[in-house]
Amino acid sequence: MYKGGKIIASLIIFAALFTIPFFYNMGKVNAGPDVALDTPAIQQLSDKQCVESPEFMRANHMKLLNQWREEAVRNGQTVYINSQGKEYPISLQDTCLKCHANGSASKVALSNPASSTTGVSNPAINESPEFCASCHDYSAVKPKCWSCHFEPKEAAK
């Protein structure tokens, strides 16, 4: 081979670039996110059902939240009727976070999420409640909710 050294070195770099994920994840266990679905609020529910089916929520929750925002803020509509005809108040605090928050500390941890330190390893996302963070951290999606929905630091003191 002519200029074999350079070509082989380049090919090694090429192979290394394309196998980064294999080396990066080497020896790790494919654990997936640990989603807390047994918060006290959920345990007290008789019918353990979110506003829509879990499959729908997993894929579409962000669209639903967007729709809710539009309904509540722009159209003044505060009641959501789900696909089963059941009514829910359109509220982040009173509907979503009522269940998806961790116990007694939840109110503080939620309204001032920056104080929550548990279960969040990604500094970019550590402003979200644990329930959101578990998946959002896993797939590196930063929710924009908490850039508006937060309690001022003065109030937390």
Partner: protein
């Protein structure tokens, strides 16, 4: 016709993937086996092609130049366009690979009506360069963004790319700029092949097929992100499973995902045997990657034969007696 042929091929592939997605028993094949095979074919085929190219001899310097060669000391050399040092070559290659320098110099030739009949005229043509630049850079950023599915925890660099890409924060999930750019660019590159008669004439099914594939891949990706949502966490579990060689097959990933991953696999498997190999080939362009030092260094063709030479002295030694008899003059007695 050539367009239709490629188009139908891609449609058939999409139908195959849809069938695979609708039969749960086939998910293992479409989600795990085919991606692995495609990856092996891609890396293996790529290396094979490059090694094969590397074995072809390049004995002489054949750079194409657009600048003054290194010459007498008072003549200013263009050190990048006509490099005589390794550094110059590296800069030239970087400009070629990252900014498509050659394409920037693309010209168009036209016959125009002049005063004395038609005149040949040349003009700059930057649209192809601009379209390619947007297309390739979008593609690269999209690939880097996809690493978030294959790496856990997601490295900062990948997240940075993503937040810059989604900087407009339109809609939810936020629109990625590269998604828009790649669709516009690939449509432009496609239309160019249809509309410009000369380009249309030289376009082959092998030119249209990758375009349709990339269109469909970008299309399914965009549909999956913004419209027919899939369970992203399940997708990532599958991807991490592939990357850790502990494949898992989560249930309930949407069908759009299987179409997407199948088309990507086919594109990757097809890559080494197609024109897409220009990704590796650009680094091996002999007209770009050599320094122009033919006047400073003597390059000897390494596989020159040792030519058997029969010199006059040998000839005379052999025939001296006969030459003398015939009365011919000889140099040595």
């Amino acid at each position: 016709m050539k367009v239709l042929y490629s188009f139908i091929t891609v449609i058939v592939l999409i139908i195959v993937a849809s069938i695979g997605a609708s039969i749960a028993n086939l998910h293992y094949v479409f989600g795990i086996i085919i991606p692995y095979l495609a990856f092996i074919m891609f890396v293996g085929g790529f290396i094979y092609r490059v090694v094969k190219w590397g074995r072809s001899p390049v004995p002489f310097r054949i750079p194409t130049t657009i600048g003054q060669q290194k010459s007498l000391p008072w003549i200013k050399q263009n050190k990048i366009e006509n490099p005589s040092s390794a550094f110059g070559v590296i800069v030239r290659m970087a400009m070629e690979v990252l900014l498509f320098r050659s394409l920037f110099r693309n010209t168009k030739t036209e016959l125009r009506e002049g005063q004395n009949g038609p005149e040949l005229s040349y003009g700059s043509a930057k649209w192809l360069w601009l379209g390619s630049l947007f297309f390739h850079w979008s593609f690269l950023i999209i690939i880097v963004r996809h690493l978030r599915f294959f790496m856990d925890p997601v490295p900062f660099l990948v997240q940075a790319f993503e937040s810059v890409d989604g900087i407009l924060q339109i809609g939810l999930p936020a629109i990625y700029l590269t998604d828009v750019f790649i669709l516009i660019a690939v449509t432009f590159l496609f239309c160019r092949r249809l509309v410009v008669p000369q380009v249309r004439y030289i376009s082959l099914p092998a030119d249209f097929f990758p375009l349709f594939m990339i269109m469909s891949i970008a299309g399914t990706g965009i549909l999956m992100r913004y419209f027919f949502k899939v369970d992203l966490v399940a997708v990532k579990e599958l991807a991490i499973g592939l990357a850790t060689f502990q494949p898992v097959l989560p249930t309930d990933i949407g069908p759009m995902f299987f179409i997407h991953i199948f088309l990507v696999s086919i594109l990757f498997a097809y890559f080494p045997m197609s024109k897409l190999m220009h990704m590796g080939g650009i680094f091996m362009s002999p007209t770009r990657n050599m320094m122009n030092n033919s006047r400073m260094v003597r390059h000897i063709n390494p596989w020159n034969y040792d030519v058997e030479v029969h010199t006059y002295e040998h000839y005379e030694d052999e025939f001296r007696d006969k030459m003398k008899k015939a009365g011919l003059p000889v140099e040595k007695e």
